[in-house]
Amino acid sequence: MFPLNKDKILLIVLRIMAGISVLSLLFILFYLVKEALPILQSISSHRFFTDESWHPTSGSYLLLPMIIGSILIMLGAMIVSAPLGILTAILSQFYAPPWFTKPLNRTVEILSGIPSVIYGFLGIVTIVPLLAEFQAPGTSVLAGVIVLSFIVLPNIVLISNNALSQIEQVHIHNAMSLGLSRYAIIRHVILPQAKPGLFTGIVLQSGRAIGETLAVLMVCGNVVQIPGSIFEPVRTLTSNIALEMAYAMNDHRSALFLSGLMLMVVVLVVILIAEKFSPQANIQ
């Protein structure tokens, strides 16, 4: 037989390595389904949307308000943080003088490494009391959105920075030689090119936002209800798991794994939507 050359071995190794991530996802899903199966077998699935309330120890398994809660808080946080993040990246790439850019980028990198627990902690000692003065109880959708925005903001800036800095210089030079204004170059040359990177980055962050657990648990109030206003408390699927998992047995425990599975379904839908509207497909 013809001996394998280095390049062929390299390709095989790379393929196996790339396969590891697929494998780990399969494992994660397998364990989630395995643990969620008992509850799916013992009660019919429409009850997760039609039961009167979430009182698993009394046999009520309403998950709908938590699905809505998770999506609501994630969307709120992205609406606040995405424009702020992209604007900051534009500032650091095109407007700010170097003496400001360096500390700014440094600040953002460090902020991205601060545990969300610390944000949650600051939320509970500053933001919640502030909101409570205005409208009780303070622990609310709004508090969750604010805290979550701070958590994802640094990463959005980092990713936007990266996307903006990877524009090929040729295009910018061409635009400049055409005598376009700074705004026009940013708006019509740089942003369209950076769009795929910005877009996927923000989608990935919304995944992180919907998965955030401990900080949200600390400031959202955790009452299982469809909130009537942004000042009312809400519970997310993640807080539901963190609050009750340690104490849950049997069907209750299984229902919490189902919360995890539901979360995965929401994430999947978000990703499918993102992929459908992703500009990447049109560009390549």
């Binding site: 364990y31 989630l32 700010a96 440094r106 601060i114 998965g211």
Partner: protein, 284 residues
């Protein structure tokens, strides 16, 4: 930093104001965060805080075991995830295009993994690494779980920086008769090293901030670990426990948070320094 033309018009001025506003907002916010944590944490810190073991559930004593555990988890996590991450990114960027089903499949899997909430990841890590693989509560279990969590981020950023390398380099390498192997290791990876470093910074940030997943995998033990098979408490888990579970733990929680931020600052400075060296070398 692009030297764009500075001609003013209304749209440009508005964008300038908006981006400055968000940038200053972030710096002010970080200033407040740092101020609050320093004011509340500094009085608790003296030199012995860094080399002593905690006493009385962490209310007194130091954080030495937590620092060692955190460091070991980080190193292990990168040892596991970086080779897989770089290999997968090379495979995706150099051997596939967006249209092939396998690469689309891997990408989709990565997006979904990035959406797995950390608490669910923790439960998976507990069921798989701790119980099924019999690794027990150990730094290794925690690092493996974290590695799975940072993979999407790592692969995505490295792939982006590989794709940003102009096609002409690859064509020239082929024309010179370089093997794929040599092209990747001698041209592409060195050129992408900045992006790889950014990916590493992002991952370290994410890993250091992680709390929920580690609680279920590397555990809660406050002792200095003897080996990677020992349970060890990370700094973030320590902060969480002090602020949510230990009455009177707040000063120590603040002090630990301050330490974490200073650590991030140090890591950040070192990576910035290394990246400058690499940049200078590749210019020569």
């Amino acid at each position: 930093m692009n030297a764009l033309p500075t001609n003013n018009n209304l749209a440009d001025t508005l964008l300038k104001i908006a981006s400055w506003a968000s940038g200053i907002f972030i710096v002010l916010f970080f200033g407040y965060l740092l101020f609050d944590i320093t004011v509340n944490g500094f009085s608790r810190i003296d030199f012995s805080f860094f080399y002593e073991s905690p006493v009385n559930a962490g209310r007194q004593g130091g954080i030495a075991p937590m620092l060692i555990s955190t460091l070991l988890i980080l190193i292990l996590c990168l040892c596991i995830s970086l080779p897989i991450g770089i290999a997968s990114a090379i495979y995706l960027a150099e051997y596939t295009n967006e249209k092939q089903w396998f690469s689309r499949f891997i990408r989709r899997c990565l997006n979904i993994i990035s959406g797995v909430p950390s608490i669910v990841m923790g439960l998976f890590g507990y069921a798989f690494f701790v119980i099924a693989l019999k690794l027990g509560f150990s730094l290794l279990s925690g690092a493996l779980t974290l590695a799975a969590m940072v993979l999407p981020l790592l692969i995505r950023s490295i792939e982006d920086s590989l794709r940003a390398i102009p096609q002409s380099y690859r064509l020239n390498a082929h024309a010179l008769g370089l093997s794929q192997w040599r092209m990747i290791f001698q041209i592409l990876l060195p050129m992408a090293s900045q992006g790889i470093l950014l990916a590493v910074i992002l991952s370290i940030g994410r890993a250091m901030a992680e709390t929920a997943a580690l609680l279920y995998t590397s555990g809660y033990v406050m002792r200095t670990p003897d080996s990677i098979m020992d349970s060890g408490r990370s700094l973030s888990v320590h902060i969480f426990d002090l602020s949510m579970n230990v009455p009177g733990g707040e000063p120590s929680a603040y002090a630990s948070a301050l330490t974490l931020i200073v650590l991030l600052l140090i890591i950040n400075t070192i990576t910035a320094y290394i990246s400058r060296i690499i940049k200078n070398r590749s210019i020569k």
